[in-house]
């Protein structure tokens, strides 16, 4: 992970082409959701040790937000999928 990411659109690309946004498991609350829900969305992070989902933005490539599943200890990457695909799935 820390070196190479396999972008579903661009292939294997070096880390420097990406900007890392952070936790990709967060779902933006409805406007009417509680203060607590909004606070948790903006400020609270699960910060797992092990598998995590993270948004990597292919800034110097296809400019897609990828959802990268990887391990925060071994840095192994399990998958990288387009963010829209992941977002649509989350909405379902």
């Amino acid at each position: 992970m820390a070196s190479l990411i396999t972008c579903p659109h661009c292939g294997v690309r070096p880390k420097e082409e990406f900007a890392i946004r952070g936790d990709a498991s967060l779902i933006r609350p409805a406007p009417t959701a509680s203060d607590e829900a909004w606070h948790d969305y903006v400020y609270v992070r699960a910060n797992p040790r092990g598998r995590t989902l993270e948004h990597w933005h292919h800034v110097a490539g296809c400019r897609r937000f990828l959802v990268v599943e990887r391990d925060t200890v071994t840095h192994e990457v399990y998958s990288a999928v387009d963010g829209v695909v992941a977002a649509r799935e989350a909405q379902r």
């Binding site: 992970m1 933006r28 203060d35 948004h55 933005h57 963010g83 649509r88």
Partner: protein, 985 residues
């Protein structure tokens, strides 16, 4: 000790003599020598001084593990301090200097530290230098600092160049010894893309100093044959002089190639060093094994060396380390070295074997002292004899060189750089490489295989298996035939008891066995604590020789197995790498990319002074003849814009085209103000928040058609806004039908501002741009006369009647020229970002000096833009938090100095009159300030607690940092034309 060049033998080319100097003394060596072998050949034994006690030290090893033979290579701006003489390829004109000695290497005043050593044990400084307190800073620390370090860095501009490159391969082989060569050969023949990297300048590794034959040829000749075949294979890349220094995620390796570190005058056409990032599907470590030193009294005297190194100097370089060499060994390897030396005609005075019995054969006539221990050494700056103890009796054995052979440790550094720890092996009596999976495997001596035949087989077989895993078919080939080899076994001997003088563990840092004992006594028995407390293993060799003995000694003292002690952490870099190589070409003006506006040349033509703005160069002001200061130019530009008209390059603004049936909805959710019903042909000022409710960026939104918007951002945030939009569109609202792309580089954009702006611009367009036909905030595509497709916006960042004209970037300069021409009669001037800044300041308009990431719309006086009616937009929900709506928040105000001659400066803080400065009394701060040529005095924008209620109040503008204090009156932030009559003219 008297070292000398043997009459024959070795791989050095005796027909090519090379002259070099050491401490100014002219010396000669041969091509193929290392600096160390050449120094030895010249009987230069004393090469350096140790760190703490300044003890005289000589060459210990023949490779990168060298702790002692550190020299400064070169001179002036081409100095390379702390260079290991053992890895320097000799070249004609090389100059080397010894280090850490004063006044000279032979007589070093610092050696007095040795007398004080009882007071200077491990960690002594933590217990002392505290009384009296003031003296630490004034006396003790400066003295300690002066003693610090070994070599001296010049810190001047490096005249040489460096570069970086990616490489990709199926198999990376690290190490070009017997295992590595065979691995590369089998993989290469099978068709894999192979990279073979070796730190040495000649491939072959231990084959180069091997005495046995392979396939009937001498080992070096065999190596040469394999290398020749590898060179003939197109799919094989051989990188000699290349150290693989790090193993990173995804099997990416960092390596540094010393392209021309071995020449006196580097070619300007080549880099001096090149860093490779090697992405390898598979990798093989064939990094060999390190012989262990023995820890005995006086083991640091020049002349005491690794036995294997003495062998290497004799066989590879044709240099004998002494006339009479003794060997101190705990295993078979010492005998092997002795036999090799004897065969070369070097006198071996004795073999001291720590073991009570052994079947190893000593060379004819050489005395073997079994169960022997060296307890001291004799001589001053060179070895003259050793004190051997056996069964309680001591004996002085004369010798002028001593080889230490304490067994072997596989070199597993790279395999342990990604979290896995080396594993203790009782069989190997060493830490072995951990299993790190299929992508990286370890072969040969690095894998604990110590015979030549075993290394050749291990390399070949493992590479064949890996090739098969990658889908390649490696044809079977017979293994090279070797001679019968001796058993390489040894007994672990961490410490030789009975030392009569200091027994060093870490030579360079002067850590001796007693230091480890002290560390243990004081509770620093954990291997990491012992390292940090004693500094063992922290020198420039990173403990390549010493760490294993430190672990063994700690284990012995604690009464546990070395497995339980464990090792310290292996981390990059395997051997030190220069800043320059790692930085490559990204330095000086190339440190970051440079962006130039499409109007850059136009601005240059008008004499612009440029200023950095992120990656951009922006025109700051346009000095004219007679103007002595930048202020004169800026004042003139401002006044001219207010009175006539000016042209300013605003091309650096971020520009984004937004399309789609949901484009309006998308923007409505992005901005805190309403965008949904923005009419076609209109522009609107927009404010974007972050989700936490603070202002992210501002800009304009223009609707060019129902489903096409044109968005501008600030220069600084162009990239961030674009990324934010990507995130919102892809992750938050993937179902909105919207697409957008950056057009920042496609448009040249210029502001034409001032009362005459319309008259000037009308000359370029046919369409009516009068107040009625094209009122304030109009925005539409418009062809220029002559047919250039342009966009015109009636927006203003100065408070004047103003337009922003966008034209395709390539036409920018021509159109700007035309505007200047059209404006000549109206006294048009070019103005830069400094004047732009004054104009916006006078009008109370904001930039990122105000929007510093901690400001709400209401703080900035833009609370009315926050559209509470909209159901949702980024930042809406969290804007309602108490802290963002509290009455005592700092709000934007204007400031005018009460004494009009005084200036106000940005960064000053605000205090109520008569109040003492303190964090509690701090009332706010000045965000922007400048001289207003229109008003004739300084003005400023500031954030002041509950500021909007405090117009008319006098506050102290407190700039203690620059000893500057002014009384100012709080006022409305709009200083010029508050009724907007000029804007809407």
């Amino acid at each position: 000790m008297t070292a000398y060049r043997l009459s024959s033998g070795g791989l050095a080319d005796r027909s090519k003599a090379l002259s070099f100097t050491f401490d100014g003394r002219p010396l000669r060596g041969f091509a193929g020598d290392t600096l160390a072998s050449a120094l030895l050949a010249n009987d230069q034994l004393l090469v350096g001084r140790s760190f703490k006690y300044h003890r005289p030290r000589g060459i210990v090893s023949a490779g990168p593990s060298e702790p002692n033979a550190l020299v400064t290579l070169g001179s002036g701006v081409r100095s390379d301090p702390n260079t290991k003489a053992t890895v320097v390829e000799l070249y004609a004109g090389l100059t080397a200097k010894s280090q850490n000695r004063w006044p000279s290497l032979g007589f070093d005043v610092g050696a007095v530290n040795g007398l004080l050593s009882p007071f200077l044990g491990a960690g002594f400084y933590y217990k002392t230098f505290m009384w009296p307190r003031q003296l630490w800073e004034k006396l003790y620390e400066p003295v300690i600092r002066r003693a610090a370090g070994l070599g001296r860095a010049v810190l001047e501009r490096d005249p040489e160049s460096y570069e970086k490159s990616w490489a990709f391969c199926d198999l990376l082989v690290v190490g070009g010894g017997p295992a590595g060569l065979m691995a590369a050969l089998m993989a290469g023949r099978a068709g894999l893309r192979v990279i073979l990297a070796d730190e040495d300048f000649r491939l072959g590794g231990s084959l180069l100093s091997e005495t046995e034959t392979v396939d009937g040829a001498s080992a070096p000749a065999f190596a040469e044959r394999i290398v020749a075949e590898l060179q003939s294979l197109e799919n094989v890349t051989l990188l000699s002089r290349t150290t693989v220094f790090g193993w990173y995620d995804d099997n990416v390796f960092g390596a540094v190639e010393r392209v021309q570190k071995h020449v006196a005058e580097p070619s300007a056409k080549l880099p001096t060093e090149r860093v490779w990032r090697i992405a390898a599907k598979r990798a093989l470590l064939a990094t060999g094994a390190e012989e262990r030193p023995l820890v005995f009294g006086g083991n640091d005297r020049p002349g005491v060396m690794m036995a294997g190194a003495i062998g290497t100097y004799a066989h590879r370089h044709g240099v004998s380390a002494g006339k009479s060499v003794a060997i101190f060994t705990s295993g078979s390897s010492g005998y092997r070295t002795a036999r090799g030396l004897s065969a070369k005609g070097v006198t071996v005075s004795a073999i001291i074997d720590s073991r009570p019995e052994a079947s190893d054969a000593a060379p004819d006539g050489v005395r073997v002292i079994r169960s022997g221990a060296i307890v001291d050494t004799k001589g001053r700056q060179r070895l003259s004899g050793i004190v051997v103890e056996r069964s309680g009796f001591e004996e002085l054995v004369a010798c002028d060189a001593l080889g230490m052979s304490g067994g072997w440790s596989p070199v597993v550094h790279l395999a342990c750089q990604r979290g896995a720890r080396p594993v203790w092996s009782d069989a190997l009596k060493a830490f072995a490489a951990p299993d790190v999976g299929d992508t990286l495997r370890v072969v040969g001596a690095a894998n604990g295989v110590y015979t030549l035949a075993g290394c050749l087989r291990d390399g070949a077989e493992t590479a064949t298996a890996m090739a098969a895993e990658l889908g390649f078919n490696a044809a079977a080939a017979p293994l090279p035939v070797t001679e019968t080899e001796a058993d390489p076994s040894f007994a672990a001997l961490w410490y030789v008891p009975g030392a009569k003088s200091k027994a060093f563990v870490d030579f360079q840092n002067d850590v001796h066995a007693k230091d480890l004992g002290l560390a243990l006594r004081e509770g620093f028995g954990h291997v990491e604590h012992a390292k940090r407390y004693t500094t063992s293993g922290m020198a420039t060799d990173q403990g390549k020789l010493s760490n294993i003995n430190a672990v063994g000694i700690l284990a012995g003292m604690r009464g546990v197995s070395p497995a339980e002690v464990g090792t310290t952490t292996f981390r990059p870099f395997y051997t030190p790498v220069s800043f320059g190589a790692l930085a490559g070409t990204a330095r000086d003006s190339h440190a970051t990319p440079t962006r130039k506006s499409p109007l850059h040349e136009w601005a240059k033509k008008h004499g612009a002074t440029f200023v950095d703005s992120g990656l951009w160069f922006r025109s700051a002001w346009f000095p004219r003849a007679g103007e002595k200061t930048w202020r004169e130019s800026v004042d003139r530009e401002v006044l001219n814009v207010r009175a006539n008209v000016g042209l300013c390059d605003v091309s650096t603004l971020g520009k984004i085209e937004v399309f789609g049936p949901d484009a309006a909805e998308f923007l409505n959710r992005l901005y805190c103000n309403a965008m949904l019903k923005l009419p076609v042909g209109k522009a609107r000022y927009g404010l974007m928040l972050r989700e936490d409710g603070f202002v992210f960026d501002d800009g304009t939104v223009s609707r060019l058609s129902d489903d096409h918007f044109f968005v501008t951002t600030t220069t600084a945030m162009a990239g961030a806004v674009m990324s934010h939009m990507d995130y919102c569109a892809q992750v938050l609202w993937p179902d909105l039908k919207v697409r957008f792309c950056s057009s920042s580089d496609q448009w040249a954009q210029m502001a034409i501002a001032g009362p005459k702006a319309r008259e000037v611009l009308q000359q370029l367009v046919d369409e009516d741009i009068s107040e009625t036909a094209f009122p304030f905030l109009s925005a539409r595509a418009m062809a220029l006369r002559g047919g250039i497709n342009a966009r015109l916006f009636r927006i203003s960042f100065s408070g004047e009647l103003a337009f922003e004209l966008a034209v395709p970037a390539g036409y920018g300069e021509a159109v700007a020229d035309q505007i200047m021409e059209a404006g000549r009669a109206h006294n048009v001037c070019a103005y830069g970002v400094e004047a732009l800044n004054v104009l916006r300041l006078e009008k109370g308009l904001l930039t990122h000096a105000e929007f510093d990431g901690r400001v709400t719309p209401d703080d900035a006086g833009l609370g009315r833009m926050f559209s509470a009616q909209k159901p949702d937009f980024i930042g809406k929900h969290l804007s309602a938090r108490y802290g963002l709506t509290a009455a005592d928040r700092m709000q934007l105000v204007g400031l005018k100095p009460v004494d009009k001659d005084k200036d106000i400066r940005a960064g000053a803080h605000l205090l109520k009159e008569g109040m003492k400065p303190s964090t509690l009394n701090d009332q706010g701060w000045v965000s922007s300030a400048g001289y207003s040529p229109v008003l004739g005095h300084h003005i400023a924008l500031a954030f002041l607690k509950s500021g909007r209620e405090r117009y008319g109040e006098k506050v102290v503008v407190w700039d203690k940092l620059r000893d500057h204090e002014v009384i100012a009156e709080v006022c409305d932030p709009v200083f010029v034309d508050p009724q907007n009559t000029k804007l809407k003219a």
